[in-house]
């Protein structure tokens, strides 16, 4: 287990438990969110994998960026991300989070998600199907178990670069005290 940061037996157990019960923050930032109801409800049912929706950032583990992110939402996503407790994971849905997607030349959407918040996994699609989302969750669980899902550590370590990128787009952003 070559976990880059610090690793001990105890961490393995945490990862194992962590993987079993993940709470996904119910925040539909973009149009991909329309595929979340089928994933959460009985047709594809992600709670089979122990993943359920959580209403507030403080109780959530996964932040889903479902598609494009307008600058106004980016500000709130940063507030949300910073309110979430470590360990936290981010999944980018669809083309818009990877390289701008359809709104590559729009003046109000960001082009690369990983410039502003660390992203653990991208799912291809416009928007990704419920089956692809579930397989994305499974891949995320594997990453958590092997301890590679360490986006949040990267955020703390390289906080300055993230802050600079964020401020380039948003101007001043209120930070958690």
């Amino acid at each position: 287990m070559n976990n880059k940061y610090e690793s001990n037996k105890w961490q393995e157990v945490i990862n194992w438990v962590q993987k079993r019960s993940l709470f996904m923050l119910h925040y539909c930032t973009g149009c991909g969110a329309i595929e979340l109801p089928p994933t959460m409800t009985s047709r594809y049912d992600m709670s089979r994998f122990g993943i359920g929706p959580a209403a507030t950032p403080r109780q959530a583990d996964i932040l889903l960026i479902t598609g494009y992110l307008s600058t106004k939402t980016l500000r709130r996503v940063i507030y949300t991300y910073e309110q979430m407790q470590d360990p936290k994971f981010v999944m980018g849905f669809g083309s818009c989070t990877i390289n701008g997607g359809m709104y590559w030349d729009s003046y109000n959407t960001i082009k690369q998600l990983d410039k502003y918040i660390p992203v653990d996994l991208y799912i291809a699609g416009c928007m990704p199907r419920p089956e692809a989302i579930l397989e994305g969750f499974l891949k995320l669980k594997e990453k958590i178990e092997t301890g590679n899902a360490d986006g949040y550590k990267k955020y703390n370590k390289e906080y300055e670069t993230y802050k600079k990128n964020q401020e380039k787009v948003l101007g001043e952003v209120k930070r958690r005290q």
Partner: protein
């Protein structure tokens, strides 16, 4: 009891009760809203600017992303405005297929919104059923168009593919299953549920006079007694070849609107059956030549059609070039989502704000564009 303190509440943008990413900042005293102000713009992608920089055909994948609840409505209005300015008459079969797709989209949107309304009051079983039933309709869409939610199927000149007979049969089977198995269950669980009825009755009331002055259309207006439906006022596609009733109500509250949506589902089922049974043979699209060089004469058109929540219009201006000169999107919930929040929301109870939003069909990307 003295006057309680006026406190500010940030409702959304991240809130399960809000359909989409949209905020309402309101002050409340006790548990009634005193004043409210919309906080839109979270889903703004500048569609209208993007559309001015793309050729006509390149906008077809773009327009269906404007309102994620009803992609087909956007494709239809865009195609219709192109055909209106270019005076292009599409083949008869294409008109029939367009109406079938639009009615399926209406059913899907209504079921989803019934589910959403139930979710707003906590009846989560109905929400699960709503999403499940809608998913079966998406399977049909996937079969016809190749895409689940975004179909990019209705294009200037007609539709992209013909519907095979086996798919038409599947549509009929789906409608039978919907009419005989699903809707009775919905009827029992939702419409005969006393607690739900009590919850919806005279909440989020919208009277006729407010509705007309705000420019509200669709079920919200019909719930106040007026039988106005764009499919009857300005028939398009194949709606003049089918007969259907436009259900209306009187009280204009959330309960009447919900019943209207249910009745409209049955009307849509009737329409689709008529369409499928006498769909004419023939081509389904007009070859308008090389897609990179679609061109229509200079002109303008304000075209509107009946989406599941009312009039959905585009104002398109063409300067005779390869790209639209200007496209202005008029979403159905623009009046309610912005001005309605400021004037109609005060007086509601706090717990009714999600019901208000869902029942009046506020869909933020429409006015964020």
């Amino acid at each position: 009891m003295g006057k309680s303190k006026r406190t500010e509440m940030f409702f959304g943008p991240n809130h399960p009760g809000v359909p989409g990413n949209y905020g309402i900042n309101y002050f409340y005293e006790g548990d009634t809203v005193v004043s409210a102000e919309p906080n839109p713009g979270h889903l703004h992608r500048g569609f209208e600017k993007l559309m001015e920089e793309r050729e006509w055909i390149k906008n077809t994948p773009l327009v269906c992303r404007i309102c994620v609840m009803e992609p087909d409505i956007n494709e239809m209005v865009y195609a219709m405005s192109f055909e209106a300015i270019g005076e292009i008459k599409i083949p008869k079969r294409a008109a029939y297929i367009r109406s079938i797709i639009l009615e399926l989209a209406r059913i899907q949107a209504h079921i989803f919104s019934i589910g959403g309304n139930c979710g707003a009051i906590g009846l989560y079983t109905a929400m699960q059923w709503g999403v499940l039933t809608r998913d079966y309709i998406l399977d049909i869409f996937e079969e016809i168009t190749g895409g689940r939610v975004y179909h990019i199927y209705i294009r200037p000149g007609g539709v992209r593919h013909d519907i095979e007979d086996v798919t038409l049969q599947k549509i009929l089977d789906l409608l039978n299953d919907l009419e005989n198995n699903r809707m009775p269950e919905f009827q029992k669980l939702i419409f005969e549920n006393p607690i739900a009825q009590k919850r919806w009755k005279n909440t989020a009331v919208l009277n006729q006079e407010d509705a007309l002055s705000l420019g509200v259309t669709g079920p919200a207006l019909r719930a106040t007694g007026l039988e106005h439906d764009v499919r009857k006022l300005m028939p398009y596609a194949a709606y003049d070849q089918v007969d259907f009733k436009v259900p209306t109500g009187e009280d204009g509250d959330a309960w009447t609107r919900l019943k209207l949506k249910k009745d409209e589902i049955f009307q849509s089922i009737k329409i689709i059956r008529q369409l499928v049974n006498n769909i004419p043979a023939g081509p389904v699209s007009l070859n308008l030549g090389n897609a990179l060089k679609y061109k229509i004469p200079a002109g303008e058109a304000y075209v509107k059609i009946e989406s599941s929540r009312g009039e959905y219009g585009y104002y398109v201006v063409s300067d005779g070039g390869l790209k639209p000169y200007r496209v202005h999107v008029r979403g159905t919930s623009t009046p309610l989502g912005l001005y309605g929040v400021e004037t109609l929301l005060p007086g509601c109870r706090i717990e009714d704000v999600p019901v208000w939003a869902h029942s009046l069909g506020i869909c933020p990307p429409e006015f964020d564009r």
